[in-house]
Amino acid sequence: MAYEIEEITTSQKIFYYLLKYKELREEEEQELYKAYTENKAVMNLVKQQGEVADSIIERYGSVIYLIPKEDNDFLGFSKAQLKKELCRSGATDKDYYLSQFVILTILAEFYDGQGSTSKTRNFMKVGELINCISERLKEGAANQKEDDDQSGLAFTNMIEAFEALRSDEKGAKTKTTKEGFIHRILEFLQNQGLIDYIEADEMIKTTKKLDHFMDFNLLNKNNYDRVMKVLGVTEDE
């Protein structure tokens, strides 16, 4: 298939824009957005470049997103890089897994729905999140006692890590408090444009981006293989 040079240039512009800003909104870059949505050739070219860069380019609503694939450590975060972002320096693996659990808990609390959208909550207060995490950890630990501790990763360990953090009545966000631990994670999510975190009111709200990602990508049955991978289930099962 032959492409016009202009189409190629436009697609490169779009891809570079996406590299810079991770997303392209219609209201901010009308021309590029229009080129992408209205010119099939441009869209294919951009998607192709995304493929080469080990990413997926998707449009949800009126925003085009650059989504790094699971094993892309250049545009996405490797485990080690994520740990560096989410945990204080000198954190152990326990802390890292705890942080992953926190994010997963936030997602499970917000996107538990079955209707036309999976979103079920409008907001969550930080205090409730902390209680929720404590409870879930305990729940997990209770499950575990039955079939004994076989792997290195156990909820009991994570509870220890979590409960070792002080709970500060005034919500001081130093490294050694639960609030501080959660604060760092929430800041990260906010910087990634996934949540609105209103510190003064201890309020967590999800953004349109996260809503879309959950509805169309993460919870999409087509992407169920990711869950299988996480759960260690092989394909032929």
Partner: protein, 540 residues
């Protein structure tokens, strides 16, 4: 048996469900006890007061943060309820009422209403209060609460009537009141009508916000309802209000004409005129609001179509349940967390590493000015008022030295009627010399000004001052200063004029006089002769 009366049952249930959910959320909560509120009536009164407060803020289009709600509770508590609650506790109470009771901690609230036409229970969504992030003073990020459509309905039904009918009934009342010339009541009614229009507008704005956030959350019946309400409003409002506008305008003009021609209106008529003017302004505002509704109506339609179009490709997506399929499994087997990043990764974008271009090393190197800019900013944040005040004080201090110097001189001239600078130097004491010559610069300026003017006729100066000088002057003006001195002193008030002339040849020397920089100097200046003319009856 005919069962037609069961039609629209879910609609009724939505209404009842709102109360039901509210009481359910409130009654079983132990938290109330912390605030010393035990009874259901106390709880209910408080909840509805807070709701009304939020409505008031929403109607005024003002932010409503937890601080505002806290202060409101604090105020009503101090004035009426007299519970032993600090401001902080009032804020906590507000947080509890709004976030826990009214919002069920952010969970979506549903009430099941039986749909007799379909023969099954239907989930009815109910929400009283919504919130959004706002930036206060452009920098502080806060949560602002506002009343949703359900919230408005709930509150309006406590005093007013149900949705579609509201406007029409209010209008009927308004019309009747105008006809009966009970304008004071008509003012209240028109205010209500205006508020209803504003609510309609806000309902649409809220709908647009929700569509933008997630069009899938917005159901088609809801959309339909809003459009229908709009169309009714749009259809009826304009014609009627334009009619009212004319009518009220005529009434106002009649009364005003009467006012001009017959001089005086009775107090009742003055009242009426006042009311009518308020009514007129509200009608104008209502018409403005109507315009906004009209344009928003089309915006909403366009937006919903657009969002749906862009989502249509996604509507076939089948989803799995995060809790069953993933979360619960991890709760059973935590080792899966090891690979959970596979699931989460699409959410996160890493910034690409920077590349150093060695060519930068050859560029002209400028110092990075961040720090200086920062310092400048700090200076700018200084209190402007304090600075002005300081400048003002400095100026006043300076003017006082001028005045003292002149006063000292005048006292001697008054005493001797005519005196030269040379003679003055002989008779003046050391202390007074410091007053006369505070520093070289001030003394020089005073003398130069005196010589330049040659003669001062205070009678004329006074007249001139009365006619021209309204503003306070911020610099040294010898005329004004002299006038001030002689006006303030009983002794000197009799001076009619002051003449200054140079005495030929003589030089006067003052030793050890400081200049502004604090150095000691010697001044040599030409001798000057001062003469005054006094009014008869004053001294001499």
């Amino acid at each position: 048996m005919e069962l037609d009366f069961l039609k629209n049952f879910p609609k009724r249930m939505k209404f009842i469900g709102a109360y039901g959910l509210l009481f359910k959320n409130s009654l079983l909560k132990g938290t109330w006890k912390q605030f010393g509120i035990d009874n259901i009536y106390e709880q209910t009164n408080l909840i509805f007061s807070v709701l009304l407060f939020i409505m008031e803020q929403s109607l005024k289009d003002e932010y409503c943060t937890m601080d505002d709600i806290g202060s409101f509770i604090d105020t009503i508590n101090m004035t009426w309820f007299k519970k032993d609650l600090s401001y902080e506790q009032c804020k906590e109470l507000g947080d509890f009422i709004v976030n826990v009771i009214l919002c069920d901690e952010g969970r979506a609230m549903y009430f099941k209403g039986f749909d007799y036409e379909k023969g099954e229970y239907k989930d009815i969504h109910i929400s009283f209060v919504g919130n959004k992030p706002v930036y206060i003073d452009g920098s502080v990020k806060r949560t602002s609460y506002y009343l949703t459509d359900d919230g408005y309905n709930l509150l309006l039904s406590t005093l007013e009537v149900e949705n579609n009918m509201k406007l029409t009934i209010q209008e009927m009342i308004f019309k009747l009141q105008l006809e009966k010339a009970s304008y004071d009541k008509a003012v209240d009614t028109i205010k209500n009508i205006f508020n209803l229009l504003r609510i309609q507008l806000q309902t649409m704005q809220e709908a647009m916000r929700r569509i933008r956030q997630n069009a899938l959350q917005f159901s088609v019946p809801e959309y339909h309802q809003i459009l229908e309400d709009n169309l009714t409003t749009i259809d009826e409002t304009r014609k009627k209000f334009s009619g009212y506008k004319e009518h009220v305008k005529n009434l106002v003009e009649n009364l005003q004409d009467q006012d001009i021609h017959i001089q005086e209106l009775s107090s009742k008529e003055v009242d009426n005129l006042r009311c009518l003017k308020i009514i007129e302004s509200y009608i104008n505002r209502a018409l403005d609001e109507y315009q906004k509704i009209l344009s928003t109506h089309f915006d909403l339609k366009a937006l919903y179509t657009k969002e749906l179009e862009s989502l249509v490709q996604m509507s076939l997506i089948k989803r799995f349940f995060i809790r069953n399929e993933l979360y619960d499994k991890i709760l059973k087997e935590p080792s899966h967390l090891e690979n959970i990043d596979i699931f989460l990764r699409p959410l996160f974008n890493k910034d690409v590493d920077k590349i150093y271009n060695i060519g930068k090393a050859f560029e002209y190197q400028k110092p990075i000015r961040d720090k200086e800019i920062e310092e400048e900013e700090i200076l700018e944040t200084f209190d402007n008022e304090a600075w002005l005040k300081e400048q003002q004080e400095k100026l006043e201090q300076k003017l006082r030295t001028y005045k003292n110097s002149l006063q000292c001189l005048l006292n001697y001239v008054y005493q001797y009627k005519e005196i030269s600078l040379k003679d003055l130097k002989e008779v003046i004491s050391e202390e007074e010399k410091e007053v006369l010559i505070p520093n070289i610069e001030v003394f020089r300026e005073v003398m130069v000004e005196l010589i330049r003017n040659k003669t001062f006729n205070f009678y004329e100066l006074r007249k001139e001052r009365e006619e021209h000088f309204a503003e306070k002057v911020n610099s040294f003006q010898i005329n004004l200063c002299l006038l001030e001195i002689i006006d303030e002193s009983n002794k000197l008030r009799g001076i009619k004029s002051l003449d200054i002339r140079k005495a030929d040849g003589d030089i006067v020397e003052f030793n050890n006089v400081i200049n502004e920089a604090g150095q000691l100097k010697k001044i040599r200046c030409t001798n000057i002769i001062f003469t005054i003319d006094k009014e008869a009856g004053y001294g001499l």
